[in-house]
């Protein structure tokens, strides 16, 4: 995931320190987007580049006409996916037969945008890896339950294989993963990339 430094963010967007920290306090920018890293000069702060630039533009577009509370509510609504079955049909490569084979959408009312994107991305990987229908359905059901049961924001999704069985690993931050020789990582994707892509698709379709 590409990152942008705090200084570069302020320079590129023209916002001030005061605005950045006020928006953080008001919950318009999630705390876990402030990524602290040790640097030569001490601790420096970085952000997920695409998400942060998009978020700042969203806030700037509304700040003169809406209160911070209203902006926060709007962002929260946009950050959720409802009607999971319909969303999977319209924003993923799953066809109706596949979606109707899933059990999870019947019990999940909403997901965060990143969680939804993680599952969509996993499905795309199962297609490329040529999983059988039943294997893919089982994996996607498990993935939906996993992301729905956590408040963590998925960062990476990995498709893995152990012997003849397929597995997924979803991680919430840039994480080093290692495994024994019995498990092989087939493919890993950045959830943010999938999220950006399907968000654009959604915007195009609702425009």
């Amino acid at each position: 995931m590409e990152e942008i430094s705090k200084k570069d963010l302020l320079s590129e967007t023209g916002i001030s320190y005061g605005q950045l920290y006020r928006w953080k306090r008001e919950g318009l920018i999630p705390e876990d987007w402030f990524i602290k890293r040790s640097a030569f000069t001490g601790q420096e702060t970085f952000f997920p580049r695409d998400r942060m630039l998009e978020r700042v533009q969203e806030i700037l577009a509304q700040k003169d006409t809406h209160s911070l509370d209203e902006i926060r509510e709007d962002l929260a609504n946009k950050a959720r996916v409802y009607q999971i079955r319909e969303s999977l049909l319209s924003l993923s490569d799953m066809n109706e037969e596949f979606v109707d084979s899933l059990q999870a959408p019947a019990t999940i009312t909403e997901l965060s945008w990143e969680s939804f994107a993680a599952v969509v991305g996993l499905h795309e990987m199962t297609i490329r890896a040529k999983l059988k229908l039943a294997e893919a359905v089982s994996l996607i059901d498990d993935a939906l339950y996993a992301v729905a049961s956590s408040t963590q924001i998925p960062s990476t999704m990995t498709l893995a294989k152990a012997a003849d069985s397929w597995h997924f690993i979803v991680a919430s931050q840039a994480t080093w993963l290692a495994t024994d020789r019995g498990v092989s990582f087939v493919e890993t994707l950045q959830v943010a990339d999938v999220a950006t892509r399907i968000r654009r698709l959604k915007d195009e379709r609702t425009a």
Partner: protein, 225 residues
């Protein structure tokens, strides 16, 4: 409704109160209040939420405090986070949680935060010690003997750390400091006043450094003096 609790011992209350006044040596569970006045030696065992809090005496909060306005006049220790619109610190306040968040902080006493203080505006004639202070406009004028700084520093043993505010990182749009020791000061428009010792200043706008200040490294702009 005005509810008055006093005396020693523990009192129980669960309902949202009107004006509440707590006196004496009291342990209470915390709760939700309109106006809360705390005097004496008090401890709260749960989170407190109020429109207005007035604290005198010695108060220990075991959890978070959230309010529109808080007046701190005593010795207060908060074992949690502090979230307030306006805070007026005249006593000694220590916040052990991960954050202090406010719209406005006025500090004529001593505020110590173990993590980050984030506020739109901070005006301190007292002392603020924190890992980070961030916001929009930060003014800390801690060292009242600034005019004598150059002379007095020759007899360095006359000074202890309590004569300075100590912060690792100060970051804001506009910063004015006096009597502050900091590792890094980053901002748009910065005034480093007398009796400051700063390791690194990173300025993107205008910078002024007093001759009686020590700044080891400057990044960004050339200072006006």
């Amino acid at each position: 409704m005005y509810t008055r609790y006093s005396g020693t011992g523990k009192y129980e209350q669960n309902a949202k109160q009107g004006k509440s006044r707590i006196d004496g040596v009291v342990i209470f569970p915390g709760g939700s209040f309109d106006e809360l006045s705390i005097n004496g030696v008090c401890t709260s065992e749960g989170p407190i939420e109020a429109n207005l809090i007035d604290i005198d005496g010695v108060f220990t909060a075991s959890s978070d405090i959230r309010a529109d306005s808080i007046d701190f006049d005593g010795v207060v220790t908060i074992h949690g986070n502090l979230r307030v619109k306006k805070a007026d610190v005249d006593g000694v306040v220590t916040v052990r949680g991960v954050k202090v968040e406010a719209d406005y902080i006025k500090c004529d006493g001593i505020l110590t935060a173990e993590s980050q203080v984030s506020a739109d505006v901070i005006e301190a004639e007292g002392f603020i010690n924190a890992r980070e202070i961030v916001g929009d406009r930060i003014t800390i004028r801690s060292f009242r003997k600034a005019g004598l700084f150059k002379f007095v520093m020759k007899v360095r043993e006359a000074f202890t750390d309590k004569d300075f505010s100590r912060v690792d990182l100060i970051e804001a749009t506009r910063i004015e400091l006096r009597g502050v020791r900091a590792k890094t000061v980053s901002g748009q428009d910065i005034i480093i006043g007398p009796a400051c010792i700063i390791d690194r200043v990173d300025c993107t706008g205008t910078l002024s450094v007093d001759p009686d200040a020590t700044v080891r490294e400057i990044i960004g702009v050339v200072p006006n003096q």
